[in-house]
Symmetry: C2
Subunit: 255 residues, 2 copies
């Protein structure tokens, strides 16, 4: 798999017959669906697109042009990470990721909703720092506290239980990116050991989950991409090694 | 049932043991859950609250203080119309309202998402007319066209089939309010017979659905409430007749 992002003018790669996910390598919403596809051990193709110079054909799959988009049959697609993930979980029930109990499913959705303001505060801190107000960091920490309290009260390694589930894969992509904020000079947004012992233990556990491990990026990498985006020239292809020719080996491809 | 809205300082009515929905009589999101409770023939209590002077206890059920909120057990609640409605449908499966097929369920959610910009345009037209731009009416009509096209392509009386389902009860509260826009002087937002024959036929069919009929309000009523809200003094209790004493009968209560 190449980590190169297709852009305006690039052709749509031929459909292989597998599920196909259109994503952007650094998009947390797209990551949610990547993690669910990984966790469910589904075979799929992953195609990255440049969100600043979108290939024309993305609009035939999603009129909004946003990612993630799941092509579930040639030329037929659904979009929105939440919609895609519930669809995948219901359509391929072999590895169930949603909670079995209707009330717990509702509570998981509420947790995502109560955590969402922290995500918005993260976006402001990372990409729109001039709009930061003292309440941004407060909102962010309130979201983290809600999450930590929930992890504590559930008393399991993951939010879903002893194994991670949809709720974990939905929250994770943001935690992964939150860790980059101190590197971007946003020290108010650090997740300190003193205050967040339980949350940090959860973060460490999540990093070892195979579905996460194979896609997760280091804070330094997120920080570097964020800086390029803030400068107005997002380096979508910074991880792409498909064109690297090594002296000793043929063309190296990232898995 | 009284249509009076409880406000700051008012006590929480005693819990009867039934499901209890906290709502606001003119809120389309709250209406979504009322319709689902009605359609599923569930026994429930309905408590209206004044959203400008919220009773303190609403925050113990929902930290956001928004409606609808469903108290599913004494002191325990979930909120957000979408979360509540899926919970009700899964917890009480006797009258199933969601589509049986995972793909159709995903497509129903996408339709709600693609229709949402029309809802935003409606809010602007109804409550914030000074923010109207020429694209507002375009966005609104684009949403209506998407909806009409979908009704046409499904070829059934309701979006869900020969009987209305969750998708119909999710969209309906907005259509009901859209019909008030011409009365508010927003003639660009009229749903004309010439352009919307299929949609208008759908609207007429929805009006006859028992779950809708018992809660639906006339465009004149919505228009009157909207005007009061725009003037900064929302007349939440305009439908309340619980204090009307008739000469010939004891205190009249609306059912």
């Amino acid at each position: 798999m190449s980590e190169k992002h297709l852009k305006t003018g690039d052709s749509l790669p031929p459909y292989s017959g597998k599920l196909r996910l259109f994503a952007m390598r650094f998009c947390p919403y797209a990551e949610r669906s990547v993690l669910v596809l990984n966790a469910k051990k589904l075979a799929y193709d992953l195609v990255f697109i440049d969100l600043d110079n979108k290939p024309e054909w993305i609009f035939s799959f999603n009129p909004k042009g946003s990612v993630p988009v799941l092509e579930y049959e040639e030329g037929k697609a659904i979009f929105d990470s939440t919609i895609i993930n519930v669809y995948l979980d219901e359509k391929y029930p072999e590895v169930p990721l949603q909670a079995a109990d209707p009330l717990r499913r509702a509570q998981d959705k509420l947790l995502v909703e109560l955590f969402a303001p922290a995500q918005s505060a993260y976006y402001t801190a990372a990409f729109n720092a001039q709009a930061l107000t003292p309440t941004s960091a407060e909102t962010y920490h309130k979201g983290l506290e809600i999450l930590q309290k929930e992890i504590e009260s559930r008393g399991t390694t993951y939010l879903a239980g002893d194994q991670p589930g949809l709720i974990d894969y939905t929250i994770w992509p943001f935690l992964e990116r939150f860790l980059a904020l101190p590197l971007l000079g946003k020290t108010d947004f650090a997740i300190d050991q003193s205050k967040y012992e339980v949350l940090l233990k959860y973060i460490e556990a999540m990093k070892t989950v195979p579905a996460v491990k194979s896609y997760c990026l280091a804070p330094e990498t997120h920080s570097k991409f964020t800086e390029s985006r803030v400068k107005g020239n997002p380096d979508y292809n910074m991880l792409d090694t498909s064109d690297v020719v090594c002296c000793m080996r043929p063309r190296k491809k990232k898995e």
